[in-house]
Amino acid sequence: MAETTLAPPEVQAETLLDSNELVLNMGPQHPSTHGVLRVILKLDGETVLGTDCVIGYLHRGVEKIAENRTFQQFAPYVDRMDYVAAVSNGLGYCMAVEKLLDAEVPPRAQAVRVILTELNRIASHLLWLGTHALDIGAITPVFLCFREREEVLKIFENYCGARLTTHAFRIGGLQYETYDTFEKQCLDLCDLMEQKLKEYHDLLTGNRIWVRRTKGVGILNAADCKDYGVTGPLIRAAGIEWDLRKAQPYCGYENYDFDIPTAETGDTFDRYMVRMEEMVQSCRIIRQAVDALPEGPIKGKVGKVIKPPPGEAYVSIEAPKGELGYYIVSDGSLNPYRVRVRPPSFVNLGALDKMCRGSLVADVVAIIGTIDIVLGEVDR
């Protein structure tokens, strides 16, 4: 890593045409760094010799905010980390606090949580697909993906009144009961997704340009995935069949029948195929959960004042981007003593340098897209 510590680009401006190496500053304002990521590239021609990520432009100090809010008050803030998968973030946080409280969540609440998180996984993957295709130069899929994502967001809006930063779950269960057409809308969405995924496959999967742009690009093999702590679709694409929903089931995931899609080489194309298949599997889970949605209360026995006993807990879930963990330390007061978020995007982005070396500038863009980062979560 040491040799990638690069001088800021201003210093090298004068040697632009004299040196063999070109330092190219990509971001934080760049069409395809997905927000405010800044990558300093050291190039030989168009070949990448090294990269250095500069992050923190979206740092809001979420972990510090947590220490100054009560447990309930902090819940809306976690939505603002990975804002395209706000429901997953909320789920992880609520589960962590429930673990501290040792609280039970009623089965109906569990099932609704599963449905909403899987919907959110679809929404997150759709956003990834659209922007990733846009990075590689296909400008149409992004609109098609947003069209389908809109349907997911409509369900969120109907359920909890917000589309993006939903604040859908509360500690101990749910705040809102499902609405009348909830089940039907979810099932319709599954039908729609299965139909539209075919369209995406027609547009991209077989397309020779797409295949050439993604096959063999940004390879991260299984050993490197473990070494860099990379999780989620990236590690599954490298051939490790590991998904927290199966490995350490939570929220009743053990009751649903679904597969973990994997691939072999761990390149961009494999990750694309894994995520596409994950959307299908999410639809499967949603169908099962909707069919078997139990009746009953939606909130467990949690008081109005949430005050967990002194202690600590690490709870992690399979967010769309990988392992999302919450390590919460309580000192027995109303506010958490320390909340640590283990963000999947941040850790996955750490492997960018490894994936980029030796590839071309165009590949860097593809690789940033394939890691599927959300800067709100990287920077917190």
Partner: protein
């Protein structure tokens, strides 16, 4: 042009300046705790792995417990690297999930470093904690796990804990010229926030 109610020529009087913000202005950050709450359930952790670790590290490993069902090791900071490498090389904990720290300003060992490890083969998660005083060096885990690189940089950035032999210990989230370490308990955000609000919004913050 949107014709909003707040354009200047509207008859409605502009909202009066914020009323005395006494209600929430000087609220203490940490509210008093009235009664002593229950402890988290903590039981001894038994099995081959804890036995092996205890045998090897004996008194350098002060606690080997299941805290609320989660496997927890508490060790001396000097032994941390050795324990990590033992866990990785001999017990298959090949995935460093997280490195973080907790600041306890009242304790003699102000900081507590927390490593979370996972083993793919055993589907097992272990948390290792070690306390250290201000200025005491921590061995970097980058030699064992590449993921430690950024995670340790973040700990350094937020707590000012220096990791020895880290290849690239710079601030990661905060700007390079930032002063102070935000996640230390004495680093107040409320004051900073009020100043910012007063300066930029020309109103009193309710915080």
């Amino acid at each position: 042009m949107p014709d909003t109610p707040n354009s200047d020529d509207k008859p409605r009087p502009a909202p009066s300046a914020r009323p005395p913000a006494a209600a929430g202005a000087d609220r203490p950050v940490r509210r008093p705790v009235p009664k002593k709450p229950a402890e988290m359930p903590c039981e001894p952790w038994e099995g081959a792995l804890p036995a092996a670790l205890q045998e090897r590290f004996s008194d350098r490993l002060s606690r080997v417990v299941l805290l609320g069902g989660q496997k927890l090791l508490v060790a001396e900071i000097a032994a941390a690297f050795e324990i990590l490498s033992c866990l990785k090389q001999e017990h298959g904990f090949d995935y460093l999930v997280d490195v973080t720290a907790v600041h306890w300003p009242d304790k003699p060992e102000q900081f507590e470093i927390v490593w979370t490890l996972y083993s793919f083969s055993a589907n097992e998660r272990v948390r290792l904690k070690a306390g250290l005083a201000e200025g005491q060096p921590v061995p970097s885990a980058t030699a064992l796990y590449s993921s430690a690189n950024w995670l340790e940089r973040e700990v350094y950035d937020m707590f000012g804990i220096e990791f020895q032999d880290h290849p690239d210990l710079r601030r990661i989230l905060m700007p390079d010229e930032w002063e102070g370490f935000p996640l230390r308990k004495e680093y107040g955000i409320v004051q900073q926030d009020s100043d910012w609000v007063r300066e930029n919004l020309k109103i009193e913050s309710a915080q």
